[in-house]
Symmetry: C2
Subunit: 412 residues, 2 copies
């Protein structure tokens, strides 16, 4: 498929002359800076720190209904976090993310550390102010991204040295630096630095790696100074149940505000992912939120909720939207398909999103094949709303004691 249409977006840069110099008054600059940051402080002033309240446990499964409180607002769980890697959920303005029902977004320590830099973001009032998102933010530690670099990184007990995927520059991140970065960003929930091992990994490697992750977790906990920011530990151990059990026990001993299952959804068979989730989740404390990192499909989310997971994140709704793959209650739609050429129906007639209320499949197909940016915006709105609707249905089912029926319907 030719990419000229969208690639054009950033072309003709050579035509750009340097902007004329705007004379800035230093005082004006400081006022602008402090005023935006102050807005954020005002918002969080009356709010408490981090807490998790377990509202209800499902009778037929491990599914839980809960509420997380953070300095930037509450999150109803089970929750899905749209991914805003570089300080923006791709193709959506913050108000659009909010309008779809998202109560928290995920951003990425590794990416923001490299560009534009955590100190810059701190100096400009923190990540909430910088990206104009007034609700909670979870920052992933960057462990997954750094360990995905392969040969570009070197792990030692002290930390990890790696080369930037942007410009090849060398960097070093330790557990302490990882926390320092996340404290500078000011996220509501920080994640420990961990080693995320690939699938498959030998038992011995998984064991050695887990020990490193546990030592790093302790150092993250010790480095953590800003108590208004929560810190979650990450359970590793590959596909080995005894290692997962050890990981849970030792992480609980260190003590975190929440626990994540890491190292899953990294290429292992789906059955194995579900087996480990089913095994490890019930070992986690009932009174803390449980987060399954990087998961997943609607089906994976439903099954994992049944095993007791409270939080999810995945690029699937946003990335699929950019690729024209749209979720509906009747299955996925590849919008470029010729069968939608003259289809005047909305994407999903049961969907309440802005896209479905205002546009036909024929128009969405036209925009997509014409490589229009608005195609990406409308598709992303729909897919994120689809995920948010799914989470609302899950929460309603647990609330109404009908999760058992809900999951049976979903498995059909």
């Amino acid at each position: 498929m030719p990419q000229s249409g969208i690639a054009e977006l950033f072309t003709n840069l050579s035509k750009c002359t340097t902007g004329t110099i705007t004379i800035m008054n230093t005082e004006e600059k400081d006022i602008a800076s402090s005023s935006r940051a102050k807005d954020d402080m005002d918002r969080i002033e009356d709010k408490e720190g981090f807490s998790f309240h377990l509202i209800k446990k499902d009778a037929s499964s491990e599914a839980r209904l809960g509420k997380i409180k953070t300095p930037h607002g509450e999150i109803s769980t089970p929750a899905f976090m749209p991914v805003g890697t570089q300080g923006t959920v791709k193709a959506l303005l913050p108000e659009m993310v909010e309008d779809q029902g998202a109560q928290i977004v995920l951003s990425n320590t590794y990416h923001l550390y490299l560009r534009p830099g955590h100190e810059l973001i701190r100096d400009l009032g923190g990540l909430h102010t910088f990206m104009n998102w007034k609700h909670p933010i979870l920052t992933d530690s960057g462990g997954y991204q750094i360990f995905s670099l392969g040969d570009l990184r070197q792990i030692e007990d002290e930390g990890v040295t790696f080369k930037s995927h942007i410009d090849g520059s060398r960097h070093f991140i330790s557990p302490e630096i990882c926390i320092e970065i996340q404290e500078a960003l000011g996220s509501d929930i920080m994640m420990c630095l961990d080693e995320c091992i690939p699938y498959p990994s030998e038992y011995d490697y998984a064991k050695t790696s887990l020990d490193l992750t546990l030592r790093w977790a302790k150092r993250c906990r010790d480095a953590h100074t800003n108590r208004s920011q929560a810190l979650f530990g990450i359970i590793q151990g590959g596909v080995y149940e005894d290692l997962r059990k050890k990981s849970v026990e030792e992480m609980i001993a260190i003590g975190f505000d929440g626990y994540a299952l890491g190292g899953l959804s990294v290429g292992e068979p789906k059955e194995l992912m579900r087996k480990i989730t089913e095994f490890a989740t019930p070992l986690l404390p009932q009174d803390k939120p449980r987060y399954l990192m990087g998961v997943g499909t609607p089906e994976d989310i439903i099954e994992s909720v049944a095993h007791g997971i409270d939080m999810f994140d995945c690029v699937m709704p946003t990335r699929n939207a950019r690729n024209g793959m749209l979720f509906t209650n009747h299955g996925k739609i590849a919008i470029k398909n010729a069968r939608y050429r003259d289809d005047n129906l909305p994407l999903d007639s049961t969907c309440d999103c802005y896209t479905c209320r205002n546009y036909s499949r024929a128009y969405l197909r036209h925009l997509f094949v014409s490589k229009e940016i608005v195609a990406v915006i409308l598709n992303t709105i729909h897919n994120v709303r689809f995920y948010m609707n799914l989470m609302e249905k899950i929460r309603d089912a647990i609330q109404n004691n009908s999760f058992n029926t809900f999951i049976k319907e979903a498995r059909k």
Copy 2:
């Protein structure tokens, strides 16, 4: 500049599996179709057809304040029309276009005829319904696009044969077909098919071409059946004053709802463009709107208003936004410039747009260098709002008898 970030948007299409077939109820499909179109009919039911009301003429210049009425609403003139070539203003949802103050958008007959096809759009309720734009639409005839194809087209008295820029397929458009297409689209203002000659063109060619354009204009007028849609004639004649004068006289004799100056802003020196505008505009009837096609920069717009132009269109605000070139009241900004790295000021502290109210230059620079789609959205919002603010200032100045002062300030 590497384009991988944005180019990624439409990659991975190979990963897309074919969507599952959604069983559609034929009746449901028909209802959806007719309901959207009916909404549009309801909106236009109580409104009158096309009219132009000259509110005021400036004492110090040819500048005019006016109001155009169309079946889809009113347009205060002088007006700028954001360009929505393929049935979407690039990177903006219709509500965003509206929020910036736009009262009319321009779309393109040539592009929509080729993709998705005017018959498809007609069958789905017309262009307003298709693109979810509730306000007036002007459709350019496609003359400019077709004649830009160079060797890919062949002009005869009957019409023009050309090859699609999309797939190379052969097409024929005559004045009659051009009107048929625009009537199918249902735009509020249609444009005659004209031959848009390049700069420079010899006198003899300009004269022969003008004669063809005049014959075609007459045929467009005769082919025009839907009286709720206005039809504008296009004045040609290159840079030759006697041809421009002849063009004006003969177009007036045919009689149109408005008159456009075409064949300008096609590469000629700016002074020549202004000279022809200054010469030709006062020859046009006072009681009809005058539209300078494809113009232009803020400076060009101000000068042309002073010569009596009422309507403008240009890709500049939207295209520049995609290239990171942003208009401010203190000059243009190339947002990728390193000097904005830690700049916490808004793009323009005198601007009231969503982007300036919520984001710093530092954030906009971060999004732009990170090739995030939201960069394009925020930049486009700002640039379109800048143009709309300019038009509001122009109208206010004419209203308040201060256009003389306004233009002197602008020329500084």
